[in-house]
Symmetry: C2
Subunit: 234 residues, 2 copies
């Protein structure tokens, strides 16, 4: 019997925002794997650290620091070999995913390579999308609003087209694209209807109007929520 | 000291998909409230039933069965009085919300009425959006995809406009609008790239291609996921 590969959403950052199901699978797995930078701590592992019992073998999937648009695919090829060996030996492997595995998560790179060959189960998690709305204190979308999720790396023209007319929008993966996004929102007259959220639900959480944001310090895990009609900000 | 009003996301249906934080607040609250039909069981209460210890007072917020576009607002006015009295008496009140409170949830009607007067905290939950992707076995959105969430009650023309060019889309609140949505997707040539999901993560879960769906039986809690480029369905 081969093992099962679990992609488990660990939630947006607060360790208490993990689900009972993710916690059960995490604590029962023989092997846990997680994305990590080339050197240093893994964010996903940090989120679940209070819940680890030390029993599992840990496999960090380390991404080289490159300016590439998308992660180095050879790292995932390597990970398939490592995780696959455990699965072949009958051991379950839990891959930790920030937020939700299928909401713009890097788990898709493993899923695409392994889902045909192994039993794979995805455990959904609280995504950054709804976590940001919660800490902001404003409904993400309601009634018959259309909600658009737009990755910040898109071109200025593309961002403009996608954000025009969206009742509610979330610009994700902001990072070094902050100034471009702020410019687009200003052009569309949406500056006042937008809020910047960084590290939602973590101790380092920040919520700011756009003009108070220092662009050089904007991390990848940040988001701008826009409510076309404005919102009752708390 | 007045109590705190909590809007807690209980997740999409599987009782194990509640977060540790929601569970803690639920089990400590003096009062729990939840949306319910005019007669019969509340879906949100059903989701958390295995976790209830019987200690809390329960307040069902019962919606009359009407064909109105949006819930009867006088019911929320009544609920504000009921919940407000408990808060004034210093008791914490937890309002149970299917999925996530701020993702098209009816909690917004209470939030809008009570957030200025009382301490309110929203606990995000696993939304139907990512739960449907997980059970379908296909990433919701990845890389620089734009993801559009479109409520099915919109007009045919509006649906057509919003679904054109969206790399990934979720049509929510399908219910009695199924045939209209199926027609629009067929016109756009997206039938094969779409899947219907009903009651994701519950025992009654169904996943179907669009032509296998019986329109008369489609519940409100159903969704159609569309991947413009197609997806590697499991």
């Amino acid at each position: 019997m081969t093992g099962t590969l679990y992609g488990i959403g660990v939630g947006p950052g607060d360790p208490e925002l993990i689900t009972l199901k993710a916690l059960r699978i995490l604590q029962a797995a023989s092997v846990i794997a997680y994305p990590a930078p080339e050197s240093g701590e893994s964010l996903a592992r940090g989120i679940v650290a209070p819940h680890l019992n030390g029993a599992a073998e840990e496999i960090p999937i380390r991404m080289p620091m490159v300016q590439a648009r998308f992660p180095a695919q050879e790292v995932y090829d390597w990970a398939v070999g490592e995780l696959g060996a455990h699965l072949e030996a009958g051991r379950d492997v839990a891959v930790l995913c920030e937020g939700d595995p299928f909401f713009y998560g890097s788990f898709m790179y493993l899923f695409a390579r392994m889902a045909e060959r192994y039993a794979v189960e995805v455990v959904p998690g609280v995504s950054s999308l709804t976590a940001c709305a919660a800490v902001l204190g404003a409904p993400l979308a309601s009634r018959n609003d259309v909600l658009t999720v737009v990755p910040a790396p898109l071109s200025e023209d593309e961002l403009k087209a996608r954000l025009t007319g969206a009742e509610a929008a979330a610009v994700i993966k902001v990072g070094r694209h902050f100034e471009k996004v702020r410019g687009v929102l200003a052009e569309l007259g949406l500056t006042e209807q937008a809020r910047y959220i960084e590290h939602a639900t973590m101790d380092s959480q920040k919520i700011l109007p756009l003009d108070a944001v220092e662009p050089a310090g904007v991390p990848y895990f940040s988001m701008i929520l826009v409510h076309q009609r404005g919102a009752a900000w708390k």
